[in-house]
Symmetry: C2
Subunit: 399 residues, 2 copies
DNA sequence: TACTTTTGCTTGACGGCCGGACAAAAGGTG
DNA sequence: CACCTTTTGTCCGGCCGTCAAGCAAAAGTA
């Protein structure tokens, strides 16, 4: 397996591609793999051996015999490594340890102040990550990588925030360098909403090619899956729906300095404000959701009205993008019925039948964990890419 | 080269990938190819030989000597085959014969009536295609393929129109089957605006990853390039901007049955109508453009106002998509200054700096040929994909 | 017990790619 | 003119991955 000529061998083992077939989690027999890949028995046997030796595959019982020796079932082994996944907001952070399937094994919520700057915040995240690793008995050699979502635009290829509006001191900071030193492994960074989209897509809609994930909380943002892959845009700024002009935005001032932004009329704080003007004091967004869940009609109506405003923007997105699924998450989406009702009312009424015919508008199913699940998914997709697996196996064989 | 076991050989020659490097048109020496690919001299030599034998590469002079034998320059040979490209509108069609670079060699404009149904229209296109082939002395053996753009949604994988609003009788019609029988070769079909986006991208912005092409004519539509590839959407309905709600759409009735659509206030006919209400009769969209080019202030103002309406919708698209380029084409865009001014005014004023910082909003450079160039590009990208080239070379070696 | 099915392992063959070697081509230099 | 340098074009032996085929073992069914 060691490369003789020093040049990368072009006829690589191909075990990585075989592993990718198994990443959906369904166990398969060797015979099924032979059928799926079209490879020879001997080839599949050799690749399965390599993956079993690396611990990336395990045997999981036997299938029913059809008259002879029962075939052994092979399955992807999600415990071949662990991932540290973190989802950072303005005031809260969630740090989790997941398996290679993106399932949360252990987690810890932190109160943070993102405006304190990158060093103190990332140091606390790193400490929490190390304690999660040691409390679950995982050494650093089991760590496959670290994924982290930040509440602002990120240049994914470098892992650096770019001009984030609510993260003073973070602009162009080397997040991967810091976390690699403090925790280890490859470190991948992205915008938090992008990761929520990635997580929702990977765990709930793996076969959907086009979808939009909308987060409605303090801000409003969207993550876009195009052709089964995350669409990040030219500057990593795609999905920034918060500062689109709302239909009835009027002169409502927005934190961005402009007026009439969607975020100024349909975000959590905006709905709380609108409700206060009607004489109902919900306190904050959390209180708003509580009221709505208790059946308060005023709160439900206000949330539904926000849904309509969001729906007008999403109608344009539907016409432009033609997704099959719109998933809505974020704190306000916990009062899902009202919000979805408002969104659906406008989107289905306003878009063309061809685009809405097979469109589902649904609540997020990953709930509050969408961010960390997405961060873990991002790491797993990187680490278990065909090239990375080939590389790993080659090193294991050489060492 | 013939496959012994009947199974596709996985260790294929790889000449296709080498050809892909040459598709940008720049001539290169063998030494440069060796550096770029990292392959051995002998391997590059063998692949170049195969491509030279197939006519896909040609030698194009010598480079400067650095003291010894001057290296021979190799270049992609765009005359290794021809493509029939057709762009169909409601009343006009353009049929062209292009080389493998997408350059139009010969063309013919037709008056058609798309509502006459697929058979008579496609038969006329096919007759024109055959006459273009014979008049340029090209036999069917030189035909690499046929590409055709239709004014409605198309399921690209099957080449069948899906519920097209202005093409009665075309729904689910087997366009590729008909044209393959009547002309020959592989036949690829797509929406006309998608093809305009593809053509503009391939010929003017080949390295741009995210862009939007907007066509403003009788209707308004957009083609989207995401990650360097065409984004078609879940039902092939992506980019349908014409029936998005315009900001000042009011109750203006639209042909789709809804009110306030962008197409109802900013398309060519809509601007002509608005102008007539101000007492200026431009006749049709062509007359409108003529007036604007002659310096008529009323016409320019009306077009600019249409640009503003389009700009409001595009501002949302920019926030959602974060493209690097928006190219504007179609008949009305021939009065580019006024239209672009209106679009820029709103988009740059309304979107966030991060998204607009490197955004170019420009007029289409492919002009009236965008559609056929895109159709040709679609065929070339298919025919010269690595797999197709491998296949072609293998057959040539076997036969 | 005989048969079937699946696995694990081995063997011979083939094709792609590598590295090296050598001749030819084309220009510069003494 | 002879000689050197650089690059190309071509050939050859060898390595590696894959394939097809075969055989023994395992484990269940008839």
């Amino acid at each position: 397996m060691t490369s003789i000529g020093g040049v990368a061998p072009s006829g690589s083992s191909g075990a990585g591609e075989l592993l990718r077939l198994m990443l959906d989690g369904t166990p398969r027999t060797r015979a099924e793999l032979i059928k799926m890949t079209g490879l020879a028995r001997s080839t599949v046997g050799a690749r399965v051996d390599a993956l079993l030796a690396a611990g990336l595959l395990t045997t999981s019982g036997e299938a029913a015999s059809t008259g002879g020796r029962p075939p052994a079932r092979l399955a992807f082994n999600p415990d071949a490594g662990v991932v540290i996944a973190a989802d950072l907001g303005a005031t809260h952070a969630l740090v989790a340890l997941t398996d290679l399937r993106g399932r949360v094994v252990a987690e810890k919520a932190l109160r943070i102040d993102i405006s304190a700057g990158p060093e103190p915040v990332l140091d606390r995240v790193a400490r929490t990550a190390r304690s999660l690793l040691s409390s679950t008995g995982q050494g650093r050699e089991h760590l496959a990588g670290v994924g982290i979502g930040l509440p602002g635009p990120v240049e994914h290829s470098t892992g650096r925030p770019v001009l984030p509006p609510i993260m003073p001191g973070w602009d162009n900071y080397d997040v991967p360098g810091h976390l690699a030193r403090a925790v280890g492994g490859p470190v991948l960074v992205d915008n938090d909403v992008n990761l929520m989209a990635l997580g929702e897509h990977a765990t709930v809609y793996p076969h959907v090619e086009q979808m939009i994930f909308v987060k409605v909380a303090t801000g409003i943002g969207a993550g876009i899956i195009s052709g089964g892959r995350l669409h990040r845009g030219a500057q990593g700024a795609a999905g920034d729906l918060g500062h689109v002009a709302a239909l009835n935005g009027g002169d409502t001032p927005c934190t961005c300095g402009n007026v009439g932004c969607l975020e100024a009329v349909a975000s959590g704080p905006a709905v709380v404000r609108a409700l206060r003007e009607r004489g109902v004091d919900a306190g904050d967004a959390r209180g708003l959701v509580r009221l709505a869940k208790q059946g308060d009609l005023e709160a439900a109506a206000a949330i539904r009205e926000a849904g309509r405003e969001i729906g007008h923007v999403l109608a344009t997105c539907v016409s432009l993008f033609n997704p099959s699924v719109i998933a809505v998450g974020g704190l306000v989406a916990q009062a899902a019925e009202s919000l979805l009702a408002g969104i659906r009312e406008i989107v289905y009424g306003r878009s063309l039948p061809l685009a809405t015919g097979e469109l589902q508008i649904v609540a997020s199913r990953t709930g509050g964990h969408a961010g960390v699940i997405g961060a873990a998914t991002m790491v797993v997709q990187h680490v278990l890419s065909a090239e990375q697996v080939e590389h790993h196996l080659a090193e294991a064989a050489a060492g």
